[in-house]
Amino acid sequence: MIRINCPYCGERDHSEFSYGGDATINYPSLDASEKEWTEAIFFRKNIKGFQFETWHHSNGCRMWLVVERSTVTHEIKSIKPCHPDLQKVVKNNK
């Protein structure tokens, strides 16, 4: 069981969270071309090692998080809210 340290709720079981996906994608603007969207949606890296990915604390505070997790060992190096304003708030609280 992976334990994820939610910046708002504290350390919880991964079963409280839902996996999102690759957190490093810059989604193109809505009026971008089909080609740009195809790149963003379908062409993904299959990383062995640490990757940034989104997790949703769906059975908790409902915050979307960027988690830096090793795909080999599940070790988690860093966790922060996706939303930059939430990042500031969490930081100020700590």
């Binding site: 069981m1 992976i2 334990r3 079981d13 839902s18 999102g20 957190a23 989604y27 193109p28 603007s29 809505l30 009026d31 971008a32 071309s33 089909e34 740009e36 969207w37 195809t38 963003a40 949606i41 379908f42 989104t54 949703h56 769906s58 409902r62 915050m63 979307w64 599940h74 809210p81 996706c82 939303h83 930059p84 304003d85 939430l86």
Partner: protein, 985 residues
């Protein structure tokens, strides 16, 4: 073999006599016995029949590694098969029986398999029964499937009761700083050290008593240790197995709460499944003594040396009269001393020629000898022995018991669960745990430490390691070196039998012999993983705890390699079996998954609703009047809606409050149709696409105020849509000031539909002016009050195609609203309607639901091209016309009529051209219903090219599953009132 209870030995309570039944006969034992020790005390040697050969089997061990004494405990619905007699505590009234034998373990008709041994070598069944030529050429595995059920029956272990489990199980959770697995000297030392350093400690022991292998010592008393542990505040969990280690120091435990009690309190669970989240794990799981492979090494009376010591000193049972101990290491001599002191005639065969050993000289040591062959079938008559240098029978010793020690295997299983491969130690002829970066430390004989002081030292060192890793100390420590015997162990795995067809067992439980391993090698199954699967070595309950190393050594020899080059299979959880009941815990029956009900659930039932599950929700399905079937009922309900008025609970729809200055822009981006011009007081139907242009969900959004919307989603997609909106706002569009809140539980919703719906509603609202056609036109929204000052939201929305309203009140007012509406609907001969009628009404109108929007459908496929704005960009707009999505022959939403209007069809029917009925056809029917309005069956579905292509063609509906076929014609999906005059009325 003559086994018997002797005086002045053991830690059993001889004042407390327990009676039990074994194979339908009554016996007696004492409190503190296991079933195995009680059977031995009653001189019962044969307790089972082996897996394939049906050979008589006795008790090989005194613990979890047992692979012979697997028995069935209990009867009827409490029958528990494949229980290790060696770990089953005795209780008064215990009922047990042997397995895999008919009529019983002493006389088993299938024992003939033993003489047909050459037919039962590894892979025999598959080779013989699979693909028998020429019968099965080109026919797959049909014959194998036929024979398989007989083969499975002949081989095997006990069988489950087949009845529902009457016991309850529980899931429990805990946290601690340090969890120590194993209460031997190392584990206890670690726990005490940690508690003294103020750590919060849990100590787990699979046995009923703490002490580990010290329980096999004659002078061991654990009461003092227990007091010390308790005084330090350590949580001691006995009868609890740490069956698996998981990520982030999570440990799975199985606590056997009542398995040792004759009449347990029904209010406590039988077993508890614990999830422990620790900061550090110390494993002191001990080591397991191996046997030696030689001919007939499975005759009842064969046992590990340590097991015999256990039976003597813990249970007061002397396991033989004339005992031969065979060994390759020093660990047996204390046992030899004690067995001979207890009155047995003991001979030790030590494979080593050079050794110095101190003994009490009451027994003979034959240096340089190994066991060669056991004579006997149901019991040991004698043992042929051989010189270890040249293997051949040299002489025969009369005996009734042969004790084996082929060395010790540290229990590296738990570390293996974490993907840490053990390393081979040549000096000690065993696998040792490797280091890991995780917060796990191995102590005691699990590290290959063979004496107690080293174990204690390793326990203290282990806790220091834990404290250092937790950042609580920076203390130097060292672990004692593996080993601890005076004379080095001499590797001894197999003594080869000279005659052909030996029965030298490597894995007792699955009847895997040394010949099977050689056969696997000859046939090319040389990797350990292949060897395991081909011979089934190391499978089943014991998971090769005793035999694995022997199998590896044989394969290494055959390959001319060293054991570490051959490798070892990965041990996976669980360490010992975990019952399915414990895994499911309380999540059984109605508690299998959460149940969601609407606030008017009871009201619906009280008014005659039959319920149906939709996702987790219980929704009204239909409201039968007396003697009405489902069909009768929904047809009446749907007709009533079209004629007068009907009321339907739609609370299960997802409801989301969308607030903030960016709300309009937000909706405009997520819906395919425009929302920027939606006025306050109006609602709009909208479709959301996924990034890849496929339809995700549909629903309505109501503009309640300049910056406030109320969104409804489909029942099934509610959670997904909510997560999606949050994701977009938190990750992609962080500049939009919008807040989304799920209010699904806060609002109770009802649909009031039918030509009389406005009249009904008129009587229910305080101010009837608010719902006139002018004040509340189609898609209008109003916030007003129901009679009794109940605040409500009303939107004029229609799913049925009739004049209709959705009314929402706070959930607390749900029943009041229902009473009010129903009272007034009755005045117009209205009805309550359920999901089935709702479905009929929407199919008639060609409205899509999840049956159509199945994740493969585009807006155009669903016939909703008008809903795709060309004036703006939105999620999915770039992708909805990509590649195959723009093909001309996409399947498009249509309606279906049977050509012969008396015929029926089912959802799932494949639509084909008349002379080409095969494969996936040209379309499919997704929803069907009887249409009360049209008076025949109708369907919704998809067909390649859509209505324009097929409207005058006769098509065929093929339903191979139900063996049905009918002629179809394609019609517009909007089968009733295509201009929508009723809706706008």
């Amino acid at each position: 073999m003559k086994t018997r209870r002797i005086d002045n030995y053991g830690k059993i309570n001889r004042d407390k006599i327990l009676s039990f039944r074994w194979d339908k006969k009554n016996y007696k034992g004492f409190e503190g016995d296991t079933l195995a020790s009680a059977l031995l005390a009653n001189n019962i040697g044969i307790v089972g029949r082996s897996f394939k050969y049906h050979r008589p089997r006795g008790i090989f061990s005194s613990g979890v590694e047992e692979s012979g004494a697997l028995v069935t405990i209990g009867s009827k619905d409490r029958r528990d098969p494949n229980v290790r007699a060696t770990t089953q505590e005795l209780y008064n009234g215990l009922e047990a029986s042997g397995q895999n034998a008919f009529p019983n373990v002493n006389f088993d008709l299938a024992g003939i398999n033993n003489y047909l041994g050459r037919f039962f070598a590894a892979g025999f069944y598959y080779k013989t029964f699979m693909g028998i030529p020429p019968l099965e050429w080109g026919k797959g595995t049909a014959i194998w499937m036929f024979f398989e059920k007989f083969i499975r029956k002949a081989a095997g272990m006990g069988s489950a009761s087949g009845l529902p489990d009457p016991d309850t199980y529980e899931h429990a959770h805990d946290f601690c700083d340090l969890i120590v697995v194993g209460s031997g000297p190392a584990g206890v030392a670690a726990a005490i050290e940690a508690a003294e350093k103020k750590l919060d400690v849990i100590l787990v022991e699979q046995d009923s008593l703490i002490g580990g292998n010290q329980l096999a010592e004659n002078d061991f008393d654990n009461s003092q240790i227990k007091n010390q542990l308790e005084n330090l505040g350590i949580k001691i969990m006995t009868r609890t197995t740490a069956f698996g280690l998981y990520d982030n120091c999570v440990v799975g435990l199985l606590e056997r709460v009542t398995d040792h009690i004759s009449e347990p309190n029904v209010n406590i669970p039988r077993q508890r499944f614990w999830t422990i989240r620790a900061k550090h794990i110390i494993v002191g799981a001990g080591a397991i003594e191996r046997h030696i492979a030689f001919n007939n090494n499975d005759i009842p009376g064969v046992m590990t040396v340590n097991a015999s010591k256990h039976y003597l000193n813990r249970y007061g049972v002397l396991t033989g009269k004339r005992i031969v101990i065979t060994t390759n290491n020093d660990s047996v001599y204390e046992t030899a001393n004690q067995l001979s002191e207890a009155g047995a005639n003991v001979t030790v065969l030590d494979s080593r020629t050079n050794l110095e050993i101190e003994t009490n000289k009451s027994f003979e040591i034959r240096k340089g000898y190994v066991p060669y062959n056991i004579n006997g079938s149901k019991k040991i008559d004698s043992l042929d022995i051989s010189k270890s240098e040249t293997i051949n029978k040299s002489e025969t010793i009369n005996c009734d018991q042969v004790l084996l020690s082929g060395g010790w295997s540290p229990a590296v299983h738990l570390l293996s669960h974490r993907g840490v491969k053990p390393k081979w130690d040549y000096n000690n002829a065993c696998f040792l745990p490797s280091d890991t970066k995780e917060n796990i430390t191995i102590v005691g004989s699990s590290r290959g430490l063979w004496n107690k002081n080293d174990c204690i030292a390793s326990g203290i060192a282990g806790t220091t390691d834990a404290l250092n890793r937790l950042g609580l100390s920076k203390t130097n420590y060292f672990f004692p070196k593996p080993g601890g015997w005076k004379n080095p162990i001499q590797p001894l795995y197999e003594v080869k039998y000279k005659k052909s067809r030996s029965k030298s067992f490597v894995d007792y439980q699955h009847d895997v012999t040394t010949d099977d391993v050689r056969l696997a090698h000859r046939e090319g199954f040389i990797s350990v993983e292949h060897l395991k699967r081909y011979t089934t070595l190391g499978m089943a309950n014991d998971q090769g705890k005793m035999g694995n190393i022997i199998g590896l050594s044989l394969m290494a020899e055959l390959l001319n390699k060293e054991i570490p080059e051959v490798g070892t299979t990965v041990f996976r959880p669980p360490y010992t079996p975990v019952s399915i009941g414990a895994l499911s815990g309380r999540n059984v029956g109605k508690h299998f998954r959460p149940l969601r009900v609407t606030p008017m659930h009871q009201w619906n039932i009280d008014h005659g609703a039959k319920m149906i599950e939709v996702g987790l929700y219980q929704r009204p399905w239909y409201y039968p009047k007396e003697n009405e079937t489902l069909n009768d009922s929904y047809i009446r309900e749907a007709s009533t809606v079209r004629k007068t008025v009907g009321i339907c609970d739609v609370t299960s729809l997802g409801k989301i409050a969308i607030q903030g200055p960016g709300s309009t822009e937000f909706l405009n981006r997520i819906y395919s149709n425009g929302f920027s011009k939606l006025q306050v007081g109006k609602a709009r139907y909208g479709i959301m696409l996924r990034d890849d242009g496929i339809v995700m969900d549909d629903g309505t959004s109501w503009r309640l105020a300049e910056n406030e919307y109320f969104m409804t989603t489909s029942t099934g997609e509610a959670a997904k849509v909510m997560s999606r909106l949050e994701e977009l706002l938190q990750t992609r569009w962080t500049d939009l000031n919008v807040n989304v809140t799920s209010v699904s539980e806060q609002w109770a919703g009802v649909s009031v539909a039918g030509p009389k719906s406005r009249e009904v509603l008129n009587n229910c609202v305080d101010d009837s002016l608010v719902i006139t056609n002018n004040n509340l036109p189609f898609m209008g929204v109003t916030s007003t009050f129901l009679k009794g000052n109940i605040p409500c939201r009303i939107a004029r929305i229609s799913f049925s195609g009739e004049l209709a309203f959705e009314v929402y009140v706070k959930s607390d007012f749900a029943n009041t609203m229902m009473d009010l509406l129903w009272e007034n609907a009755k005045k117009y001969d209205g009805c309550l309607y359920g999901l089935e009628a709702l479905g009929a009404l929407r199919v008639e109108k060609g409205h899509v639901t999840a049956a159509e929007l199945d994740g493969r459908v585009t807006i155009d496929d669903a016939g909703l091209s008008k809903m795709a704005s060309t004036k703006k960009s939105y999620i999915g707009s770039a992708m909805r016309k990509r590649g195959v999505l723009k093909n001309n022959d996409r399947e498009i939403l249509v309606g279906f009529f049977p050509t012969n209007l008396k015929e029926t069809f089912n959802a799932g029917t494949i639509v084909c051209e008349k002379n080409n009925i095969k494969g996936q056809g040209i379309g499919r029917i997704t929803s069907v219903t009887y249409s009360p309005e049209l008076g025949h069956w109708i369907g919704l579905g998809f067909v390649k090219g859509g209505l324009d292509k097929w409207k005058d063609t006769n098509l065929v509906g093929a339903d191979p599953v139900r063996n049905k076929q009918m002629n179809l014609k394609v019609v517009s999906p909007n089968m009733i009132d295509p201009k929508g005059e009723r809706m706008y009325a």
